[in-house]
Amino acid sequence: MEGSTLPYSALIIDDSAHMRILLSKLLQRNGFTNVDLAVNGADGLHHFKALNPDVVFLDAIMPEMDGLTALQEIKKLEAQTIVVMTTSLSEKEKVLKFKEAGADYYLLKPFEDKKLVDILQKIVPILDQRAKKV
């Protein structure tokens, strides 16, 4: 995947500037040229409506609007959008809430680059298939 260019867009919603930069660079390195950034759930929702991205990388604990609320709103707007939770929350009870709300993947912070690539390798074929159907 590294080195190739993908026609898909991604939105990173995270209140940590460090995490936004890190994820953005990793996504770009793995072919995502269209990457948008948002600083919290409310900002993320605003960006989501404007961009309608193929994939959303969503933090859980954020000011103004938390990740769970943002996830619910995103799935209401576009159920097919792939949402990857990127958070340090690992309590089963909380994780299940994200699962119930429609999260597609869960990346536990801190994560290794390879783990993100593993998830992208699952996501890209799904997006490829969807693109063929259109």
């Binding site: 209140d15 940590s16 604990i61 000011p63 340090s88 929350l89 690992s90 309590e91 089963k92 009870e93 994780v95 699962k99 999260a103 597609d104 993947y105 869960y106 990346l107 536990l108 912070k109 801190p110 994560f111 783990k115």
Partner: protein
Amino acid sequence: MRRFCRQCGAALVSICNRCENVNDFEDKFCGNCGAVLTAPLSQEHLFSSKALGDSKLPRQYNPNEIDELLSLRATVRQEQAAAEKLTQEDLDSLFK
């Protein structure tokens, strides 16, 4: 555990800006959410008259508030210890 600075009486706890968890003063990362905590100020910084008037300094807590926060922290830690935590492998299985 010492709750106040022996020199200036400042609270020796660090509140996470992200999740408001009460952490030990020396902690660099929040024990609840992993956020980076504000670096502890040096004593020199605490004692300077300029610093004392600086609104960016961490909020000072009174003894009752400290007791309440420590009690909350103990409760949160008990709940955290009781909560089942998932590994990335567990999550991968759950989010197939």
